[in-house]
């Protein structure tokens, strides 16, 4: 479970980390004259970013949403089917 801030953080972290690893891997590969080095560093970076941003880490849920307590929810039942259908009837348009 992630809260809203956590989701935003996850997205931003993912984008920043990937771009940073892309820059580092390209720079290193170009400087060393090694295409393979670029690919290895980038692949490592993608893997690391996956570990940081994809699982449900607790630090993504520091402002948890306040869901309604089940005992309170029972006191306010959902509307019945028949009531919903009558509400849906609209006057005919010409």
């Amino acid at each position: 479970m992630m809260d809203w801030q956590g989701q935003k953080l996850a997205e931003q972290l993912m984008q920043i980390l990937l771009l940073a690893f892309a820059a580092v891997s390209f720079g290193t590969g170009y400087a060393l004259g090694s295409f393979q080095m670029m690919m290895l560093i980038y692949a490592g970076g993608v893997f690391l970013t996956t570990l940081v941003t994809v699982p449900n880490w607790p630090f993504f849920n520091r402002h948890p949403l306040k869901w309604l307590d089940p005992s309170v929810a029972e006191k306010h039942p959902k509307p019945q089917q028949q009531q919903a259908m009558s509400l849906k009837k609209k006057p005919a348009k010409k």
Binding site: M14, A22, G29, Y30, F35, V46, V54
Partner: protein
């Protein structure tokens, strides 16, 4: 970003897009290199020079091909394909190109080489125009990248002559 699958998908898509951009940049970086290859070819011997029964001239040569193509290699080079073509003019064709030899250079270390060989592919004319013919030997190369654009260029060596009579 509300679920594992959503985040994994977003990450993978972004990662692959960035990878495509890096490959484009790597290919572009090849434009920044200015190679200075060199080559020389000697015709050591005309082994034989005949007119075939079908009327076409054919000649067999022994060549010494030496070249230094090391400056063609960049970090984005997979291999260099090189071939030597005999080029000459006839009344029928303004340009005849006959590939005599080719090779694949897989690494920079192997790009400075010489080879002493007879022509790998047959030197056959379309017709009977080769007696006394002046021709160029042109070394062509294709620099094949790991990613992106392939560069091709050539080096023309002129002043070669075939014998005036068959041997």
């Amino acid at each position: 970003m509300h679920s594992f699958g959503y985040r994994a998908n977003a990450l993978l898509t972004f990662a692959v897009t960035i990878l495509a951009l890096m490959c484009a940049m790597a290919s572009f970086s090849d434009n920044l290199s200015h190679p200075s290859p060199s080559s020389s070819v000697q015709v050591l011997n005309v082994n034989w020079f005949q007119k075939q029964p079908n009327g076409n001239d054919e000649v067999s040569l022994t060549l010494n091909i030496s070249a230094d193509l090391q400056s063609l290699f960049t970090w984005n080079t997979k291999q260099v394909f090189v071939f030597l073509a005999a080029e000459y003019e006839t009344p029928k064709n303004s340009l005849n190109q006959i590939s005599l030899w080719d090779g694949i250079i897989a690494s920079k270390e192997h790009a400075k080489f010489w080879t002493h060989t007879s022509n790998k592919y047959r030197f056959i004319d379309q017709g009977s125009n080769l007696r006394g013919k002046e021709f160029n030997l042109t070394l062509h190369w294709h620099v094949m990248p790991k990613t992106g654009k392939m560069f091709a260029d050539k080096l023309v060596m002129s002043g070669y002559h075939l014998p005036k009579e068959y041997r």
